[in-house]
């Protein structure tokens, strides 16, 4: 139990005020009904269950922070008290103060925004987490995350609009604000609130306006759109701000007052327009390259598999010839290897790669779990399909086709969620149908290239086959181009962080993006040319083959650049940072020049984490069969 002093000052005590029934979003403030059995389940914090008499009377009401933005002085006491209480390493904080400012000297105003987890009504972190590391407790409505379950994929950090979950690059797992539920249990406000020196931060049952305050606003400038998650935080901000509010961190985002919406919406801050550069090294060495490798390789294999299987099943010439050729079985193994490579890269980028098996745990809610499940079924079935394709008998053929069917099912399910998982409202650049166009286009273009190159190597290629494959690639490339161009047009001037993504696309990665566009254009044209001309060249491959190889190279290159850019330019709807702390520009700079070597700088390097076989074996050994079975059941029950 948290050690409560006899003389705790009044400002640290929960007021116990609970007068409202529903939140402004319409949800009941009681987290569970009066008679819910959940109220009787023990709530065990740090091993000891507080006695019944100590139980906080408002335990089963949704609690939340209250932030008076006019009062925040940016003194960092909340952040530091949080770090002290939670023993967090210096390179991350559960709570951070960001800064936005507006006006010109002396008509200038700075708004400090202290933000931790908002313990949302709709916790997208919980729904996104594939390992079920998150729980929204009936107690206080607290959304708690267990680092011991987490496998460090960081997906919750993608979906959370507020930067609340902290992916620790050193420890390789996520952790976050826990509402100081141990303090709540003994009637104390969270450590950050008790530490506040500006009387800005408060805490209590949600919708309760503290004494001396009048507003319970849902948002303030710089705070991401609350309709995404219905965060349990309320604001007061009475002092007049200018129409344009700027961030002080490196991100070229500013917030503009939209009279119609009555709120500040994000847009590009032209004063921070970056220079037009290549930044190829930065692009191709990023931590997200694992995702590039995974999506491209798996989508290529998926595309090739669909073409192979459907053409075989429905006898679509000349594609069906590939299945009939002697290179069919080897090709399948190449596909297995390529998909395995993608899966390996994906798994090894996890903070805890040896906990890979937890990826399915949240099948009920998480698109990531569904993607992993679907792709795993696809991969397993593909391998089985390839295995049975090695034998030439009716049983093996039957089994092979059966596994082809399950592979298709897995592919459809996993492929869909591979796309769905990027439709994240907190990442507006991705949250667009172009993501589907890009993934489908990749499947078509790289899938057909894979088949074409394989048939060229295996000697099964014909001008007709190459032309057919080129036409499919043409479709894929066209789809990708169309998605890209529509997205560009729609997002470039959008009132969202997506516009900033396009700023990065055309400046920081401007030359690279132009190269990619060029490659895409040339590849599309070439695919068209091959489609039309190759069948006309009587019989021989001497014309079509070199062009096809060139097309394949172009397609791979543009896909690689395109996908790398897809991950590099995305700008989340994050909370603003400060000058140094949580300033993405400074973090990058510190890593680049070596300032991050100083432990007191608070910047850690990204690093790869080893596959800890020992931990895996230990878990297997120490988990009873009953627990394993229960765990398995909970994949479906939650």
């Amino acid at each position: 139990m948290f050690n409560r002093r006899d003389n705790e000052p009044e400002y640290a005590l929960l007021t116990g005020k609970a007068t409202k029934e529903r939140t402004q979003w319409g949800a009941p403030i009681d987290t569970v009904p009066e008679d819910s059995p959940l109220r009787e389940e023990p709530f065990i914090v740090n091993g000891d269950e507080p006695g019944h008499n100590l139980r906080n009377p408002n335990r089963y009401k949704q609690h939340g922070f209250y932030f008076n933005a006019d009062n925040c002085i940016g003194c960092h006491a909340c952040e530091t008290a949080c770090a002290e209480k939670n023993g967090t390493p210096a390179h991350l904080n559960f709570r951070s103060v960001g800064i936005v400012e507006c006006g010109t000297y002396p008509a200038y105003r700075r708004l400090n925004i202290s933000m931790a987890c908002n313990h949302c009504e709709d916790p997208v972190c919980l729904k996104g987490c594939p390992t079920r590391a998150y729980t929204k407790y009936a107690e206080y409505g607290a959304v708690l995350q267990d680092p011991d379950i987490c496998f460090g994929c960081g997906y919750c950090t993608w979906v959370c609009p507020y930067n609340a979950p902290q992916l620790d690059p050193v420890a390789g797992h996520v952790s976050k604000c826990n509402m100081c539920v141990d303090r709540l249990e003994v009637g104390l406000k969270p450590a950050c609130v008790a530490a506040c020196l500006g009387n800005a931060l408060d805490f209590g049952v949600i919708e309760e306006i503290p004494d001396n305050r009048v507003q319970a606003e849902l948002s303030i400038p710089g705070f991401p759109d609350p309709s995404i998650t219905h965060p349990n935080i309320r604001f007061q901000q009475m002092k007049t701000l200018e129409r344009e509010v700027k961030r002080v961190d490196s991100l070229p985002v500013q917030y503009h007052l939209d009279e119609q919406q009555g709120r500040y919406v994000p847009e590009v801050d032209e004063s921070k327009r970056p220079p037009v550069e290549w930044n190829l090294k930065k692009l191709l060495k990023s931590h997200e390259m694992a995702h590039v490798a995974f999506t491209l390789s798996v989508q290529a294999v998926m595309g090739a598999f669909v073409l192979l299987t459907l053409s075989r099943w429905f006898g679509i010439a000349p594609l069906a010839d590939v299945s009939a050729s002697g290179m069919f079985a080897p090709l399948l193994w190449v596909m297995v290897a390529l998909a395995a490579f993608g899966l390996f890269k994906l798994n090894m980028h996890l903070g805890r790669p040896h906990r890979f098996y937890r990826g399915f745990y949240n099948l009920r809610l998480s698109p990531v779990s569904r993607e992993i499940a679907g792709v795993s079924v696809f991969f397993g079935s593909l391998a089985a399909h390839a295995f049975f394709a090695l034998f030439d008998n009716a049983f093996a053929r039957g089994m092979s086709e059966l596994f082809a069917a399950t592979a298709l099912a897995g592919l459809a399910y996993g492929g869909y969620y591979m796309y769905r998982l990027y439709r994240i409202p907190a990442r507006p650049y991705w949250d667009h149908w172009h993501t589907a166009a890009s993934f489908l286009g990749t499947g078509l273009s790289l899938g057909s290239m894979l088949l074409g190159i394989a048939s060229l190597i295996g000697g099964a290629a014909t001008p007709g086959l190459l032309a057919s494959l080129a036409s499919l690639a043409f479709l894929g490339l066209l789809l990708e181009s169309a998605g890209l161009l529509v997205q560009w047009r729609e997002q470039e001037k959008a009132s969202s962080e997506a516009a900033v993504s396009w700023l990065f696309m055309t400046t920081t990665y401007g030359h690279t993006f132009r190269l990619r566009l060029g490659l895409l254009g040339v590849a599309t044209a070439l695919a068209g040319i091959i489609t039309i001309t190759t069948p006309l060249m009587n019989g021989g491959l001497s014309f079509g083959a070199p062009l096809f190889v060139l097309l394949a190279l172009l397609a791979v290159a543009q896909s690689l650049l395109g996908r790398a850019l897809f991950f590099a330019v995305v700008v989340p709807t994050t909370m603003p940072g400060a000058y140094f702390w949580k300033n993405p520009g400074f973090v990058e700079h510190a890593r680049e020049v070596g300032l991050a070597d100083m432990p007191q700088l608070g910047v850690a390097y990204e690093k790869h984490h080893k596959f800890d076989v020992q931990e895996l074996l230990k878990t297997i050994r120490e988990t009873t069969w009953q627990e394993k079975w229960d765990q398995f059941k909970r994949i479906f029950t939650g």
Binding site: R5, E8, P9, Y11, A12, T31, L38, P42, F43, I44, V45, N46, D70, N71, I73, C75, H76, A77, T80, A83, N86, G87, A90, C102, Y105, P106, Y108, R110, N112, P123, L126, R132, K136, Y137, D146, N178, V181, D182, L197, G198, N199, V248, S250, S271, A578, Y579, F580, W581, N583, G585, H589, G594, L595, M598, Q600, G602, V603, D630, R634, G638
Partner: protein, 740 residues
Amino acid sequence: MLFGRTKKNPVNLYEKPVVEWRTATCGYCSTGCSIDIGLDENGMPVSCRGNAEADVNRGKLCLKGIFEYEVFRSPGRGERVMEREHIRAPWQQSNWDSALDRLYSEIRRIQKKYGPDSFAIISTGQMLNEEFYTLGKLTRGLIGTNNYDGNTTLCMASAVSGYKRSFGSDGPPGCYEDFEHTDYLIAWGSNMPEQHPVMYWRLKEAHEKRGFPIVAVDPRVTILAQGASLHLPVNPGTDVPLMNAMMHVIFAEGLEDREYIEKNCTGLEELKAEVAKWTPDRASQITGIHPDTIVTVARAFARAKAAMQVWTMGINQSTHGSDGVVGINNLALITGNVGKPGGTPLSITGQCNAMGTREWGSTSGLPNFRALENAEHRKEVAEFWGIDEEFLPRKRGLTQTDIYKAMEAGEIKGLWLVATNPLTSLPDTSRVRRAMEQLEFCCVQDCYFDAESVQYAHLYLPGATWAEKHGVMTNTERRVNLVKPVIDPPGEAKPDLWVFNRLAERFNAEREKQGKKPLTFPESASEVFDEMKQLSRGRLSDSTGMDHELIDKHHGIQWPYVEEKRKRGEPPRQGGVRLYTRPASFMHPDGKAKLIPLPWEDNNEHPDEEYPFWLNTGRLVEHWHGRTKTGKIANNNKFSPIPFIEINPDAARDLGIRHGEYVRLVSRRGDAIAMAMPTGRVPYNMVFMPFHFHNATNRLTLGLLDPHSRQPAYKQQACRIEKIDNQEEAARLCMEMRTF
């Protein structure tokens, strides 16, 4: 749970392994917060929390206090006594005996060869009162150099000087409780939310209850300025004309408190004659403040039932620092706002114990605000210590700033630095380096071996820090707070009191050889306290009613608290103790305060074509002074780990400087590299640079001295900003220039 899982897992939160809490007073700023330090089962400090019973902070701490437990074993602590032949020779490990012998013999050698004042001692605002008193006794009573000062010359000298000129003695008259009674508050060059965050919280609490107007006078839109009822963005260094114009309005409109002035002040006519010249229009031309605004503020200030003025370095660190303090006092006196609840001037001190060195350090005089210039004071102290009265100089010696000039002039050959780091803190670093290179002998006594000044030392004595020691500190509101040791110093490091006592033994031995009686140097801090408080009897800061135990019990006691009260069974008050509450109780011989006219002449280095920017300097909430402490505590340091400037976005745009780029700053003194952070906080022609980073800001500063206090003007000088094309090289250079 609502959803997420059907299996409810137990919740495991991090817990500090604290087995015992011990209380100390914070060693950072002068607010004087009481801190509970949590120790683990091995006795290692692992946690800090605000003490809930202490009246000062009522359970609160700022971010520095919250992580203060990390200072004990932070990198760079000096653990060994070190010696070397010359400043380029490698360090050799030494021991206390031979090191103190060397310090003793070097002091005497230099004094013999070049005269008694050729050896200078510069102390600090970081030690404990008992240590200040002991060092003062050692210096004034045994060593006998008059060139002895504290680094308080860099922060509070102007306040000291201004108080002395107006009231006849140093000593801030107000207290924190005044926030709860005031009806109007002017903050002159004081950004409390950043400089004194917990004191600001006390102000905020009071303000939320009663909502009185707050006026911020500051050239920069600080957090206090933007939150204030009114911000006066005054031109740098022009506070005195603003004060004069306010007094002009007050007298012109008959808003002064005639009865109060009659009973308590002298010099009214001279003051009136001077301020008559300062019409709001004239002052407006100089200060940049709208004349009507001056009138508004003057009227509201004068009409308020109780009006308070606080100030910090914006006033003290300027060429008219002492005059600025006198101006504040003038304003307070003519409106009767001294010594009454909510009506007071209150200088907000910088260092945790700057007040202690003012009271007990004997730097600018003798213990407890006694003056060397006063024969009676010399006699009292000489008799109390048992020394020859003639041994005490009849006039104060050089200030820290002038000691460095005397080093340049070859008049000072030896230096003992105690818990201060002039290489980082004095203006114009290159001159400081040059001065220190010329020393024949320099001893640095500090808790950090990596303090920059150690570069020029021949002898390094590792000091204990903060709650490794025992004694008291006095805070801004004259509250004497106790610090008790919670952990032993690392390695061979020793409390400063121990070091002074051991050195005193050597000088006492010399005395005994001459057949004189040795001076007493009690070993324990509480004994020292009992000795020194005798010297406070009957004086302004009478603390004869206190002892360590009682101070501990009450979480600090404000002076005065006299023995008679204690004997009567009157416990010390929780707060709200003020000075000059009775009529004509000021410390000038006639009991009256002086109204002093302040003619003003602008002598600052202004921006010009070659150096078009004002260079303003100041503090950040996350750092403490030269960062020897906070620069190593990640949870403080990470909020501003490298030198930077605030520059107006329009100026940055016109210079082609991008957000987050390194720039070169050039002044007539030198250059520095810093990262540019554009913000509308500063005007087009000003950059603000935090002073905390060594080898940066003070390479540029000019440091003109106030004629009364000899305090440097750190905040008003000119510089230019140059764009750096090779950012990689700039980053490397900036990184190489400091390891923390």
